[in-house]
Symmetry: C2
């Protein structure tokens, strides 16, 4: 119970607290509404304190984005590793892991797709993005080697395969296209979408 909000001169874990609170603010109000001074107020530190941990606002967002890509990659891989050794079933599982994560983690996903974040990318962010891209691309290539869209180029097939969960998550999150989507229906919804990209109905036992 470190519940006391009274702070000694040094916060002690301000960096982590900033990142956590930032995710909450983005979840509730969007990236645009995130301010360093607001975070400082929420955490009872002075308005300049965040600058000790992040050179500027973009740096904080970049850090958040790097975490997000890595989390998204983990969520994508997690289901694949539990799947049987069939490239189609594996990619289908990855797609479902990807889309489920993107829908359930609105704030982190919105940071990933926020154009202003990527503009000021550092090495860490670029590396995280590359890791994700390589992970998916390899799985896409494996399905094509197993007969999926043999006439397509790998580049196009890869872009298409990525575009579906990215686009679907974007549309689901878009305020003007909001569709009712209960937690109960999420799995079935995700499975139906991904089945259209990487069908496995005739493969499952």
């Amino acid at each position: 119970m470190t519940g006391s909000t009274s702070r000694s001169y040094h916060h002690g874990a301000l960096r982590d607290a900033l990142l956590q609170r930032a995710a909450e603010v983005i979840e509730a109000q969007g990236v645009e509404r995130l301010t360093l001074r607001g975070l400082a107020r929420d955490l009872n530190v002075s308005h300049g304190a965040p600058n000790r941990h992040f050179a500027n606002r973009e740096a904080l967002l970049t850090t958040l984005a790097t975490d997000a890509w890595e989390q998204m990659r983990q969520a994508t891989l997690a289901r694949a590793e539990a799947a049987p050794d069939d490239s189609w079933i594996r990619l289908n599982a990855m797609g479902r892991g990807f889309l489920t994560w993107a829908i359930q983690n609105r704030s982190l996903f919105s940071v990933i797709v926020h154009p202003d974040v990527a503009r000021y990318a550092g090495e860490a962010l670029e590396a995280a993005v590359d890791r994700f891209q390589e992970t998916v691309r390899a799985a896409v290539a494996a399905t094509q080697a197993n007969g999926r869209h043999p006439q397509a180029t790998l580049d196009a097939l890869n872009l298409y395969t990525n575009a579906v969960p990215f686009g679907a998550a974007m549309l689901v999150h878009h305020p003007l296209l909001a569709r009712p989507l209960t937690d109960a229906s999420l799995d079935a919804f995700v499975a139906e979408i991904i089945e259209l990209v990487v069908p496995i109905a005739d493969r499952a036992g």
Copy 2:
């Protein structure tokens, strides 16, 4: 040649000039960098002048977004109307028109997908979005009536069909996923992506 930059007291067409300049700024620097004061400077008017035409920054973006959805709808429909009377070929043409427009109009597309814009939507924007959605949905339903993915629900098929061009455009525009894409290769690239969603290779004459 209305090249003289000297302005009489009244600009005369400030509203249109603001919208046009805003699109240029977004194209070059992104939505985040757009400021009303910057636009005023660029157009040699006082910092408060834009407020006579747009209640606030969001209102300007909302106007831009309404235009963008309508333009995107026109681009989507334009090719379809020149296509033969086959629902698959028609939807394929719409997809190519959609994706081509989204790639070629980076600034307007980025406004469309910007989360902060939709949050303050007015009736005009919502109506434009609805028109677009209805246009696509009808075309999707027509293909399903013609045997495309008969086992899927229309909601899922519609979301999937929309997600591909939305997601593909997003990925193409994403600074960290930038792929070389020359104007010459654009048509072939777009055609290949859309062929994966709405195949027509075995239908064309």
